[in-house]
């Protein structure tokens, strides 16, 4: 009495539509597309900086100080005669490195702690209390303290940004683990003698990935912003590396006569963060259709 395998019904929208209709991605997910495009351009700027009509972003030219935009200096020059276009393009490197590093590190560490906290009852309350403790420390304050203790460097900035982000990831992962571990298919795997690491890898982890991708975009955007704030306060990226934050910090005294020194890195920063957030929102809608409908 072999039964006929049913064809997927309208409720299985997830995989069916994606496979069924390839074209029209741009129109179906305009937000994802827009965000991804801008982020992509930023990435190209960061990696291809030397080939994008730039000069050495640190080269001083006292004869060409505070020049308005022209054919040589596309966005003008700053108070030391440095080319603003080159500095904005190279500045994307710092932002991107800090953003990605903070996202990868906080997601990686948070995922590991969250999985353990969600599955090992004994460690759960200990780990979560530590996370509560970290959450109680203001992020900027922690960053300033770390930088003043160990000196300004990109690595310090990344560490300083990553630590306050970890608790959020841990809480997210732990919540997912706690609900997934009750699923009958996980219990069936336990009954089939699957060892704990494999259960986490096969059955629990895949459920964490989509929300973590979305979370990663938010961590990335917030890390870029924090980096800029820290640099602006003089507690972030050292001044010899061009970053949007310290460009704005150095240029703020000249704002009344040459606002572009502050404006262009500011625009670059705002645009990047907006793009990453838009990408995150789009991905969330795509990866979790239930949330999208609620908006």
């Amino acid at each position: 009495m072999t039964e006929v395998i049913e064809r997927p019904t309208a409720t299985d929208i997830g995989t069916v539509t994606v496979k069924g209709r390839r074209g029209g991605f741009v129109w179906r997910y305009p937000l994802v597309f827009l965000g991804a495009t801008i982020v992509g351009l930023m990435a190209i700027a960061a990696f291809g900086a030397p080939w994008l009509g730039t000069v050495d972003p640190l080269a001083l030219d006292p004869l060409r100080r505070l020049r308005p935009p022209d054919a040589v200096n596309w966005l003008g020059t700053d108070q030391f005669g440095r080319d603003i276009w080159s500095r904005v393009v190279y500045g994307a490197r710092v932002s991107l490195i800090v953003g990605i590093a903070a996202a990868v590190l906080s997601i990686g560490i948070g995922l590991a702690i969250g999985l353990i906290a969600g599955y090992v009852r004994l460690l759960d309350s200990v780990a979560m209390r530590i996370m509560d403790g970290i959450m109680a420390i203001p992020g900027i304050l922690l960053a300033i303290a770390l930088v003043s203790l160990s000196g300004a460097s990109t690595l310090t900035v990344v560490v300083a940004i990553t630590i306050p982000e970890i608790p959020r990831v841990v809480r997210l992962v732990r919540a997912i683990v706690l609900s997934v571990r009750e699923e009958p298919y996980v219990e069936a795997a336990i009954a089939a003698g699957t060892r704990l690491p494999l259960i986490l890898l096969r059955h629990v982890l895949p459920n964490c990935i989509p929300p973590l991708i979305v979370q990663a975009t938010y961590v990335c955007a917030s890390a870029m912003l924090t980096e800029a704030i820290l640099s602006f306060l003089g507690a972030g990226t050292p001044p010899e590396i061009p970053s949007w934050g310290n460009m704005m910090a150095e240029g703020r005294a000249f704002f009344p006569i040459a606002p572009r020194i502050v404006l262009f890195p500011g625009i670059a920063l705002a645009l990047t963060i907006l793009a990453i957030n838009v990408l995150g929102d789009g991905l969330r809608d795509r990866l979790d259709p239930r949330l999208a409908k609620r908006m």
Partner: protein, 543 residues
């Protein structure tokens, strides 16, 4: 019957499904009527369109997804289709009301139940607060809620499931509507509670002359309550008539199949293997949950107390009980998905209860479990094949061999072996349950636990899965522990039955003897509550 106009009359109703569904219309050319003081049962399996019909009458269809395209719905002679949402809103509650399946989610958890009943009165009347309160107490009395003065100020979570459903009914009846639509109102309730609610609906309807449209999938309930029956299949009415006509002399083959698939309450005679070796034995098994601690006062909740079971190979032992009786706790202790607090679990004489997770591992394969919910029992992100080979590969079988075994098992449970590369969402509920059985068998177990394994399935699918379970029991000489709340199912598949109540086994015995002469009061109460017990099901075989 003085009033000749039907309360509800549906004529040629067609409701269209959105494009891309498995059929064009959710409901097609459906016609029937409900007279005053009459209970009409619309019965059908999942996807038959019975709920869509009810929701169309109430004007509760999801907008833009389901649209009535033709036909008429008359409420006391007044057309309902084509009314504005505002006009329909005025009719709902006042002249027609609905009660739902899940009384927990249908009530607002942060609102006192009295206020929820009163809300209907606030919307539809200009009564004073005192008048409304008097009316609320009145209907609460009518649905036989005790101590109404106190209950009126309680929140839903403080009430039992049965009481919550009574509140729903009270709210529905507050304004004496002409039509009451009940959408599976007792499906989520225990049998004893179900019996009370059915009696209540019957009683209220007789007293007030309300017309009731009763949606159900359960022919036992139909036999219990219906005046007339409408049988639906794939959105069409296949048969309608009086309860006696449809139940005793069904004309349509589909109806005959449905009624034939309802398991009989008369136990089938089985030859229990008296001498086979004992596969599983529990001694004074106990599970106590400890809540609170650290700051709050510790509370202990005994979920299972002093449970002694014994199953021989080739035998099926049923554990029957209502929700919260501890039957699933026992099953999960035996499968060691939860730690037993005390007692012994002997598998071939070896006690596995005190073993650590590591020491337990070799014993894992001997006990396998099939769960209730076919939609959550398989990892949706992994292919069926990956799910089937996971267990055997844990115990050292090579991938190729494991796949070969999986293919054989798929054939054995009646599925296409090539379907191993598919994902669970491409299968129906019954097919998924077959896959779960195949997954359990892949471990080559000695003991198979079926925890409400057929409870979520339609009755025709249920019969097939039960037959499959019985087939594999014989073929592999399995000891089966069959957990169920359904006496009919238990009567058909179990050699012996243990009745659980509040964490204890109150009665145990051979199925035939137990059904003939139940000893314990609780067992008798369970038997009395079984819906449709006066009607002999399982006699009209499918033709």
């Amino acid at each position: 019957m003085a009033d000749a106009t039907p309360v509800l009359s549906i004529d040629g109703l067609t409701v269209q499904l959105p494009a891309g569904g498995d059929r064009f219309n959710a409901v097609e050319n459906v016609s029937f009527h409900v007279n005053p003081g009459e209970i009409v049962c619309v019965v059908g399996e999942s996807g038959s369109g019975k709920s869509v019909t009810a929701h169309t009458v109430m004007g509760l269809l999801p907008r833009d997804q389901l649209t009535p395209t033709s036909g008429r719905i008359l409420l006391q002679g007044e057309e309902l289709l084509g009314r504005t949402p505002d006009e329909l809103r005025r009719l709902r509650g006042a002249r027609m009301a609905m009660i739902f399946q899940e009384p927990m989610t249908a009530l607002n958890p942060v609102m006192r139940v009295g206020e929820q009943i009163e809300e209907v009165l606030k919307i539809h009347t200009t009564w004073s607060a005192a008048q409304r309160r008097a009316r609320v107490l009145d209907v609460m009395d009518a649905v036989r809620l005790p101590d109404t003065e106190r209950l009126i100020g309680s929140y839903p979570h403080q009430l039992s499931g049965g009481q919550r459903q009574r509140i729903m009914i009270a709210a529905a009846l507050a304004l004496d509507p002409a039509l009451l639509i009940a959408d599976e109102p007792t499906t989520a309730l225990d049998v004893t509670t179900q019996a009370q609610i059915l009696k209540l609906i019957r009683e209220l309807q007789e007293r007030r002359g309300t017309g009731v449209l009763f949606i159900t999938h359960d022919f036992g309930v139909v036999a219990e309550i219906a005046d007339r029956v409408v049988v639906m299949k794939h959105g069409r009415v296949v048969e309608q008539g009086t309860a006696a006509e449809v139940l005793q002399a069904p004309r349509d083959p589909y109806t005959r199949m449905l009624i034939g698939a309802v398991p009989s309450l008369t136990p089938r005679h089985r030859t229990a293997p008296e001498s086979a070796e004992v596969a599983l034995e529990t001694r004074s098994l106990q599970k106590i949950y400890v809540m609170g601690g650290l700051f709050g006062r510790k509370r202990t909740v005994p979920a299972a107390t002093d449970v002694n079971l014994r199953i021989r190979r080739g035998e099926t032992l049923g554990i029957v009980g209502e929700s919260g009786s501890g039957k699933s706790t026992v099953a999960r202790c035996i499968a060691r998905l939860i730690e037993p607090s005390d007692g012994a679990i002997l598998i071939h004489g070896a006690d596995v209860a005190p073993l650590s997770a590591r020491a337990l591992r070799p014993h894992r394969k001997r006990v396998q479990i099939v769960f209730q919910d076919p939609y959550r029992s398989l990892n949706p992100r992994r292919t069926v094949g990956a799910s089937l080979i996971e267990g055997p590969m844990n115990f050292g079988l090579g991938k190729a061999e494991a796949l070969e075994r999986a293919r054989n098992l798929m054939t054995m449970v009646g599925l296409d072996p090539d379907a191993l590369t598919r994902f669970p969402h491409q299968f129906s509920g019954g097919q998924r349950q077959r896959i779960c059985i195949a997954r359990a068998l892949a471990m080559d177990p000695e003991i198979l636990i079926a925890d409400e394994a057929v409870s979520a399935l339609d009755v025709s699918v249920q019969a097939q899965v039960l037959a499959l379970l019985d087939d594999v029991r014989q073929r592999f000489n399995l000891a089966v522990l069959f957990i169920t709340h359904d006496l009919r199912v238990a009567a058909q598949v179990c050699d012996r039955i243990a009745v659980m109540h509040r964490g204890r086994i109150v009665e145990e015995g051979g199925t035939v003897a137990l059904f003939r002469a139940p000893q314990h009061d609780y067992t008798r109460a369970l038997f009395d509550a079984a819906p449709g017990r006066h009607f002999a099901f399982g006699q009209h075989a499918a033709s």
